[in-house]
């Protein structure tokens, strides 16, 4: 084949460009830390990278909801435990003094203790977390329970729930397919209706106090029974809340594994393997230098030098 000088220089320029392009590509991989700059460099990897990235963001969001949920339920559990303790203390006081051996002074003291426990119960039931009332249902900004006092404004005669209701339920989304109820309703804990139970725990304490004031032993016994039932109810609800926390923690661990998996796959596709890239860079560099050297040599040659 006939070779002309334009061919030589064209070929030389083209091959230098190719070497330089390869060098530039590897250099870009190293400086950006990413294997691909445009989807067309590897369409399959590109879509997977996008999917894994948004998947990780989504799961991290569920984990955020879960950690909020755990905090909320742990707080709920604390409140329920406090309620348990208050009720247990009231039962304890009642059992100690609900017999004929107790003096009337002791009974009066018992009545006063029960009254202060009742006041504490109202306060505990109105506890809030992150400015939301824990037992308020979906009416999170209104105190769930309001105490009514007698004519002197000293003794609690009853406690009424928020007239707009405490029944609202709210859930968090904890995975792609699952939402989980987060709140515990105040009426379930303290004022259940229509469950074969007289219900209102506040009312039980009010009546117990009245029984001690009146020295009515029969009534004391009845209300002690009611109190025991109330305690076992709160304990059962608290156990549910506790198991909810356990489930959330298990789910979080599960999601964490998923994040690691997705993150690993994404990184494998997207992140530049530096060792590999640097070897590649050195190779490309060597090729480029060789191309430069040979080009310089060939382009210099001419018959004119020998004539």
């Amino acid at each position: 084949m006939r070779v002309t000088h334009s061919m030589l220089s064209d070929t030389a320029v083209a091959s230098l460009m190719r070497s330089l392009e390869r060098l530039q590509h590897v250099q870009e991989q190293i400086t950006t830390g990413r294997n691909y700059q445009l989807p067309s460099e590897n369409p399959t990897a590109a879509t997977q990278i996008v999917r894994f990235t948004s998947k990780v963001a989504e799961i991290e969001q569920y984990r955020l909801a879960i950690s909020n949920g755990i905090a909320w339920n742990e707080m709920t559990s604390t409140v329920l435990t406090e309620i348990e303790d208050l009720l247990a203390e009231a039962l304890d006081v009642s059992e100690r003094f609900s017999n004929s051996a107790a003096t009337s002074a002791e009974r009066e003291l018992a009545a006063a203790t029960i009254e202060s426990l009742l006041e504490e119960l109202v306060m505990t039931a109105n506890r809030s977390f992150k400015e939301k009332y824990i037992l308020g249902g979906t009416r999170t900004l209104t105190a769930p329970f309001t105490a009514q006092y007698d004519g002197d404004g000293e003794l609690i005669t009853g406690v009424s729930p928020n007239p707009q209701g405490l029944t609202g339920v709210w859930s968090y989304r904890v995975s792609e397919v699952e939402t989980m109820r987060m709140n515990t309703r105040g009426n379930e804990v303290l004022q259940p209706i229509g469950q074969g139970f007289e219900g209102d725990v506040f009312k039980v304490l009010v009546r117990l106090r009245e029984a001690f004031e009146d020295g009515d032993f029969d009534a004391m016994a009845t209300e002690e029974g009611e109190l025991r039932e109330a305690i076992s109810r709160v304990v059962a609800i608290n156990a549910r809340v506790g198991s909810r926390v356990n489930r959330l923690e298990a789910m979080d661990a599960d999601l964490e594994t998923q994040v690691l998996t997705y993150e690993g796959q994404r990184s494998e596709l997207e992140d530049t393997d530096l060792a590999e890239a640097i070897v590649e860079f050195n190779t490309a560099d060597t090729v480029y230098q060789a191309a430069l050297a040979s080009t310089a040599r060939i382009l210099q040659l001419s018959l004119a030098d020998f004539l």
């Binding site: 590897n42 996008v50 989304r173 018959l303």
Partner: protein, 577 residues
């Protein structure tokens, strides 16, 4: 044998021929780097012979027959074909690269659509854990604004790309016209200059160069009439012949894009290849395909978010609400003729309009029913007014073709209203969505999408609940979960999630762009190979010219020596006499 003077003449012719050869050689060397230069070759032939009385035949010397261009015209045809394809692929692959850059999915992920969507849904999920929190509400609004502006920005840049391509179509057409004019002029010059069998080499080199460029632009075909006239065709239609020239022109076509047509007949020009085809295909097919995918995604997100949002309550209920879109005719049925972009969403159904106290206690709720084909903006307003006439809680007006609902002038001052039933029933008719009442987004596609200005001013109106309870997160939860729902988006017949739909877009874009740039790279190799072949045949090799230089020099020296020998012979003869 002829006279001694004819011998002297042979010497003269030899000198002359070598001189010509030297001239051509010098010209070749001088043009070694000239683009489009074809090396020349001197064709020598012996001059006629004479037969003398003795019957012997003698040669009479040498003459320069022709100075030829060394060129393979078949190679030109092949090369130009391939150059047309390369021009097309070059332009379309460049356009794909731009689209990829606009989508920016693998680059700095800060502004990519997939990141923005992900952040938007995440913001709603976060809000669902704290619907009472104003700061979280503001972050939903701002992520909504970011998503909307990303959509608008992408759309703006894709539209800009189309405009750039269109401008390039215009300049390409101008360049074709300029080249055609030059070609025609050269045709005329060549026909005039050439005197058979000698060819006007320099003019022809220039013409070949022009045709090369033309075939890059519009994949032209040529026909050589042999008398120096070269005709050029675009997809079979004559562009230039010996003396005639036709011009292309651009006229305003659909949506401000140029249509290319023949100036004389008005017929549309459809190039079969070349940069012009690459530009036009990108402008009319490739880029619009991605615009419509981005559009379809934006439209679906607007619809689905608004559908849920319009059936929810914020922390604050409305004292006055005005629909975001004005109808064109308040007496036209809402589902046809009222000019609502989402009129297809209106179905038979209705919604609860409820008057509440500021504390969220229901005063009165009424079912407003919507019947396609019958319900107009005016009938809806009339129905609301009739329903609330007795109590005076609410009043409705149609003001500049928008529905305005407000608390009645005689109602208690703490009266507010909501579009959600007291048991959480949402609008079943699509009326709120279509008229933009209590919606999150405004607009209908990627060009117009924005967050409702009411929400931008007051995040308490952001709907999170399906009741008036502040801790109710049902709507926020449902909107956050839209990312896991599937829809038949745009022209798709398969239901996909928003993320999946966008992934398909990116996968298609990546694959198409990779295919196009792969083809382009291959085509470059093909063209390169043909160019090399042409250079191998027609290019100047300095070593070869230098070698020829030596042999011509020797021949010249020899011819000169011959003349001086003859001269000596003459002298000898003269000195005898």
């Amino acid at each position: 044998m002829g006279s001694i003077f004819s011998a002297l003449n042979i010497g003269r012719l030899g000198l002359l021929a070598q001189q010509y050869s030297m001239h051509v050689l010098g010209n070749n060397i001088a043009n070694v780097n000239t683009e489009g230069y074809t090396r020349r070759r001197v064709v020598l032939s012996p001059t006629g012979s004479v037969q003398l009385g003795s019957g012997l035949v003698f040669g009479t010397g040498v003459k320069t027959e022709d100075i030829q261009r060394v060129r393979d015209t078949f190679l030109d045809v092949y090369l130009r074909n391939e150059m047309g394809t390369l021009g097309m692929l070059d332009k379309s692959s460049a356009a794909y690269k731009y689209i990829e850059l606009i989508f920016n999915e693998l680059g700095d992920q800060g502004r990519s659509l997939s990141t923005m969507m992900s952040e938007f849904w995440n913001a709603w999920e976060t809000l669902s854990t704290e619907p009472e929190n104003t700061a979280v509400r503001e972050s939903v609004i701002s992520s909504g604004l970011s998503l909307a502006s990303t959509f608008r920005y992408m759309r703006e840049r894709l539209d800009g790309l189309r405009l750039d391509l269109n401008t390039a179509v215009g300049t390409t057409v101008e360049e074709i016209n300029t080249l055609a004019a030059q070609l025609q002029e050269l045709n005329v010059q060549i026909i005039a200059a050439e005197d058979e069998p000698h060819t006007a080499n320099d003019l022809r080199d220039r013409r070949d160069l022009l045709v090369d460029r033309l075939s890059e632009l519009a994949a032209v075909t040529t026909r050589d009439f042999g008398d120096g006239e070269l005709a050029v065709f675009i997809n079979g239609s004559l562009l230039v012949s010996g003396t005639t020239i036709r011009t292309l022109e651009t006229t305003a076509g659909t949506s401000g894009m140029y249509a290319v047509q023949w100036a004389d007949t008005g017929d549309t020009v459809t190039p079969s290849g070349g940069e012009l085809k690459g530009l036009m295909d990108s402008r009319d097919v490739n880029v619009p395909a991605y615009i419509s995918r981005v559009d379809a995604l934006a439209t679906q997100i607007i619809k689905e978010v608004n559908r849920l949002h319009s059936g929810g309550n914020g922390l604050e209920l409305y004292e006055v609400a005005t629909s975001g879109i004005a109808v064109t005719d308040a007496d036209a049925p809402l589902d046809s003729g009222a000019g609502l972009p989402f009129e297809d969403e209106i179905t038979s159904g209705g919604f609860y309009l409820g008057a509440y106290t500021t504390a969220g206690n229901l005063l009165l709720q009424q079912w407003i029913s919507i019947t396609p084909g019958t319900s107009t903006l005016n009938t809806v307003a009339a129905e609301i007014n009739a329903d609330f006439l007795a109590t005076g809680f609410l009043q409705a007006y149609v003001v500049s073709n928008r529905l305005m609902i407000q608390v009645g002038s005689g109602a208690p001052s703490d009266t507010r209203f909501s579009f959600v039933g007291s048991n959480g029933t949402r609008d079943t008719s699509g009326f709120l969505l279509a008229t933009e009442l209590n919606t999150f987004f405004t607009g209908e596609d990627s060009e117009t999408i924005n967050v409702s200005s009411l929400l931008q001013n007051n995040a308490d109106f952001l709907a999170t609940a399906s009741s008036t309870a502040p801790g109710d997160n049902a709507i926020a939860l449902a909107i956050g979960n839209l990312r896991n729902q599937t829809f038949e988006i745009g022209a798709d017949t398969e239901a996909r999630s928003f993320d999946d739909y966008h992934e398909v877009t990116i996968a298609t874009l990546g694959a198409e762009s990779a295919r196009e740039s792969g083809l382009c790279a291959n085509q470059e190799n093909v063209v390169e190979a043909f160019k090399q072949q042409r250079l191998a045949y027609s290019g100047v090799n300095l070593d070869e010219e230098l070698t020829n230089l030596i042999s011509v020099e020797h021949a010249y020296t020899a011819a000169a020596r011959y003349i001086s020998t003859i001269d000596e012979m003459l002298e000898t003869l003269v000195s005898i006499t």
